[in-house]
Symmetry: C2
Subunit: 416 residues, 2 copies
């Protein structure tokens, strides 16, 4: 994208009520805009990061046979009454409204109920199973407090996956597959080494659910990590019996503030019983379907990455999620410089490399500081002197040194 003809603009001022590091940086760098407390718009650069994260998650969900669909946000009261989750006393994050004819509707804060009800139209025989479906859904949750930027918003993008299997054993197989896929996702977006499979409270069916917790000072959770075994226990379930059960010892555990970036959950047959989702087995006998639920907060993940990877100059995106791979600064308005900048820009775009061309009439220092603030992995400077040397000035966002490189060498670096 060329900064003169696209809507990607850094800002000096940020809303006075914004206190979270991730939202402050993302607003300043032109990734998001605050609509109201806990509600953000995603500007072109922000949308690109969201889409990059979604694509990584999509690939890993497709790898374990997930089928992508999209459910509605509007939901029916009667479904949630069947599972006793319509009442605001039971679920305190509902947004509700009414159709013009008076019928109450809810706005999806979760989709377990509607998607399981829907499956009654598509699952009747063992032949229809297993089924793994997922979506990237904009969830609406009426959070009482929303002070953590995009770590906890009233409107946010979530990947939620649901598994429908015949038996508990087949469910467990998929559950394990999903744990592996989640580890791959967090590795690919750059936080794998600091993200731990975490034992957390389970609910009515299982003793534990599993969370993926990333070490993060801005996180809302506290977990105890065994760094050798690479697992953690959420403090909400930590006690001597649990430690013994998991083969952990208190002395080996590190207490850490963390942010939950994913969670997976077994429902057994409870939801299917409540919602009447059954299948006929090979012998003609009916059984309720076994359900699992697997979430990743996409926009929260983006926020966690910003919380972890930034410095005093701005954001430092991991390559895999950065909205562009390189930021070209043309220095000065000399025709030779600007035409060389456009030429390189087009050449890199043609190679499928995402490029930001800063073709604005600004001083070099302003361009450099915007590039750092936006957190683009590589910066290329084109000036009179680089043209004289038929080289480019190349700098990585995370290294202090500046190198002079030929176009060929530049492309080698960027193609990596």
């Amino acid at each position: 994208m060329r900064l003169t003809s696209s809507f990607a603009k850094t800002r000096k001022n940020i809303p006075a009520d914004e206190i979270s590091v991730n939202a402050k940086l993302l607003i300043k760098a032109g990734y998001i805009h605050k609509e109201m407390a806990g509600v953000y718009d995603f500007l072109p650069l922000g949308l690109k990061v969201v889409e990059n994260i979604k694509q990584i998650v999509r690939e890993e969900m497709n790898n374990i046979n997930g089928s992508e669909l999209i459910m509605s946000s509007l939901q029916r009261k009667d479904l949630w009454e069947k599972t006793d989750r319509w009442d605001d006393k039971k679920v305190d994050v509902w947004f509700k409204s009414k159709l013009n004819n008076g019928t109450p509707v809810g706005f999806g804060w979760s989709h377990e109920e509607p998607i399981t009800d829907m499956m009654r139209n598509y699952i009747s025989s063992y032949r229809d199973l297993p089924l793994f479906v997922y979506q990237f859904q904009t969830k609406l949750r009426n959070e009482l407090r929303a002070k953590s930027g995009i770590l906890r918003s009233r409107e946010f993008v979530m990947k939620d996956m649901y598994s429908y299997t015949k038996t508990e054993k087949l469910h467990q197989q998929f559950y394990e597959q999903c744990i592996k896929a989640y580890h791959k996702v967090f590795q690919r977006v750059g936080i794998g080494d600091q993200t731990y499979l975490t034992f957390a409270s389970g609910g009515s069916f299982t003793q534990f659910s599993h969370e993926f917790q990333t070490i993060c000072d801005a996180g809302e959770d506290t977990v105890y990590i065994d760094e050798v075994k690479k697992i953690a226990v959420n403090e909400e379930v930590l006690n001597d019996a649990v430690l013994k059960q998991l083969g952990l010892s208190r002395g080996n555990l590190l207490k850490k503030k963390t942010a939950e970036v994913g969670n997976i959950f077994s429902f057994g047959s409870t939801k299917a019983v409540q919602l009447d989702l059954n299948f006929i087995d090979e012998e003609g006998k009916p059984h309720p379907v076994i359900l699992g639920s697997y979430g990743i907060g996409i926009t929260r993940l983006m926020g966690v990455i910003v919380e972890k990877y930034h410095d005093e100059k701005g954001i430092i995106w991991p390559d895999s999620v950065a909205p562009a791979r390189v930021y070209i600064c043309s220095v000065g308005v000399d025709k030779k410089v600007t035409s060389e900048a456009v030429n390189l820009y087009k050449n890199l775009c043609d190679r499928g490399i995402e490029v930001i061309l800063d073709d604005r009439d600004l001083r070099p220092g302003e361009k450099f500081s915007d590039c750092d603030l936006m957190g683009i992995p590589y910066r290329v400077v084109i000036s009179d002197s680089t043209i004289k040397n038929t080289k480019y000035e190349l700098k990585s966002r995370i290294k202090p040194e500046v190198k002079l490189v030929s176009r060929q060498d530049l492309i080698k670096v960027l193609d990596n």
Copy 2:
């Protein structure tokens, strides 16, 4: 996608209250599921069509320098009060709710107000203009009646674009560019020849707005078409003065039922004045920004295509939006047949061709009828006898004849 391991399922039964042709066909063919009246989920095949249409629109919007972003669904009351559109008596399609602290919020049925308010943070000088931004947004509209399937839903995907320019003249230039881009979109999705630029009522600022109306019996509009001049007039503005003004004569006009697939609208400076969006010009003087708004109903467009392109067997997707280019039917469970089917499937996938492999253990007739119902442009049959001849049986959805072709010839047809 392989039908045995993905969630793409045709259905025999459809909801009793469903009366629209588009929704009936799309439900039967496994593209959508009805959540409640006017609210539909998009299953994997349906989501693919939506994404195909979005991608065509995206390319054309990017071609006219649009920057993609995504606004929130949750909206502030105070913004809409400034333009006098919060009151249910003024706008009767609002869904509204309240934050837990009692603050009223609305769910986005349109985004002109929030996006224009947002721009106050990014537009202050003539240097910031022009700006063209667009989004694919899930709009929520509390429609009193919702009987037309995805032609008019309570929750639907819309592309809305907004132009911010310095002068009325520059606005008009972009407006004309956008008309051309819209014609390209409708051409590319297969309804160009039956879609007319239509003069419609304008509102407070302009005499006319422009709609793009597609001839469609299920549509809700009536327009009068001049087939030579390739324009139409919505009956809501048709009178002798208008005809004279547009140089049309009543005798040359054809009355047609149509569906509105796009509309474009000039606001002049009214919105900017109401919402206080100004820029400082080259001489240091402040002016309100000129606003235009440009919509295409993405899911409605999908519905219109189905209304126009189907027969007694099912949907007939234009190539450009079909969820897959080819449907491979393996006939029988002979190992040679199934392995040849998988081999061809992988080969085509590797070439970037979207393929549905019907590897279910069903009779050929059932597979053929699902293929026709789903509306996939090409069907390939692999059986004992085709293997003996080292050929494939190829049939186009819109032609009766079946051809025997080599793999090379098949790829030639599919690559087109």
